[in-house]
């Protein structure tokens, strides 16, 4: 599997043209009236932001990640990334395989934004 950069992942989450516009706007904003030190700080903060994610997880999964990370003395984010990267392997190799694997866990959603909910049980 080809690993994607965080910039590419953000593009996947957004409409590509909208993402382009946002990137263009962000670059313009950055160039406006900043000292060199501020620019460096800003760049670091931006890099951190690219790696940040805000998801709603079942409480037991969140607690298990916290507990294992504590026991192994590793950051929770890195443990979550480790688990996720291995989780992708269980989704098969093709779009059709993934669709088939996930189908039994899907149920219709009442949200106008999504067609399905996905059960983790």
């Amino acid at each position: 599997m080809t690993k994607k950069s965080s910039g590419e992942e953000r593009r996947d989450a957004l409409d590509p043209t909208t993402a382009d516009i946002l990137q263009e706007l962000a670059e313009r904003d950055e160039q406006r009236s900043m000292t060199e030190a501020e620019r460096r700080e800003h760049k670091k903060a931006k890099e951190r932001l690219k790696r940040r994610v805000n998801w709603d997880l079942p409480v037991d999964i969140k607690e298990r990640v916290q507990a294992i990370a504590d026991e192994e003395s590793v950051p929770q984010s890195q443990l979550a990334a480790w688990l996720l990267s291995r989780g992708f392997e269980s989704l098969g190799q093709t779009d059709d395989e993934r669709h088939e694997i996930l189908m039994p866990f899907k149920s219709p959603s009442s949200s106008p934004r999504y067609d399905f909910n996905l059960s983790v049980d």
Partner: protein, 267 residues
């Protein structure tokens, strides 16, 4: 199959009517037989097309005059059910139980010979608005880019979700369409970012703010007639000069792709 799309946002002045008229005429120009229904008592759909306001919706839903006798052919392949202040009476009629609001458009549109029906909803959550959401399979939300933008989108999404949850509607959100986009304004770009973070891929490229959209209304012409070259149609020029971004032309193309509609014109 007839595709029915509601163009809605409970907030006013976000570009709903301009979007509805522009997309409806754009589809019609591609040979797609389109019906645009004005649900706003202001009756601006007719005015945007250079026609007079008239009580079309009242005749259709209260007087129960058949659709084919109520529609006005505004342009080739573009038909409208106009509205005016009598649309207020339609709301009162439906609210008093004159007809089941859930089925009101289903019955009126039954067997109608249109490929696409667009509802231009009023900026309020009233019985007509609900009826439109119930009858539609798609929802397009135009939104201005100010600090209340996300609020407005959330409100209409909650309304749609409630109807979907109760089994009354099968509506799906096709897109959030940012309008009045000003590339040079910090607030506008910040709000585009907020919307994109919240609604992800559903936020389509914005429609640039353009005085020609207002001028076109004054001349009773659509943007496809008055200013096909304007920024709000072709999008704004990229800084590297590689073509336009956003605009109604690309929005129309996206909608045609999403609805699997093919142009029957070849120019």
């Amino acid at each position: 199959m007839m595709e029915i799309m509601a163009i809605a946002n409970q907030k006013g002045g976000v570009g709903k009517t301009t979007t509805a008229v522009t997309l409806a005429h754009g589809l019609a120009n591609h040979g797609i037989k389109t019906l645009l229904i004005d649900l706003d008592p202001q009756g601006h759909v007719a005015e945007c097309l250079g026609l007079k306001k008239s009580p079309g919706l009242f005749q259709l839903l209260v007087q129960e005059i058949p659709l084919e006798d109520v529609v006005v052919e505004a342009r080739k392949n573009l038909f409208i059910v106009p509205g005016d202040k009598t649309t207020e009476k339609v709301k009162r009629y439906l609210a008093s139980g004159g007809q089941s609001s859930a089925k009101v458009f289903e019955e009126a549109l039954n067997g109608a010979p249109y490929q696409v029906v667009l509802f231009d909803c009023a900026p309020s959550y009233d019985i007509l608005h609900i009826a439109a959401l119930i009858s539609s399979n798609l929802l397009l939300i135009p939104t201005k880019l100010d600090h209340l933008a996300t609020d407005g989108v959330n409100e209409i999404l909650h309304s749609a979700a409630e109807l979907k949850r109760s089994g009354e509607s099968k509506i799906s959100l096709i897109a959030v369409l940012p309008t009045f986009f000003e590339r040079v304004t910090k607030e506008t770009s910040e709000q585009l970012r907020v919307l994109a973070d919240k609604f992800g891929k559903l936020v389509w490229p914005p429609i640039p703010d353009d005085v020609r959209a207002r001028e076109a209304v004054a001349y009773g012409q659509t943007l496809w007639e008055y200013a096909t070259w304007s920024a709000c149609v072709v999008g704004y020029e990229r800084r590297d000069g590689t073509g336009g971004v956003g605009g109604y032309k690309s929005t129309l193309e996206r909608i045609m792709r999403a609805l699997r509609l093919e142009s029957s014109t070849h120019d």
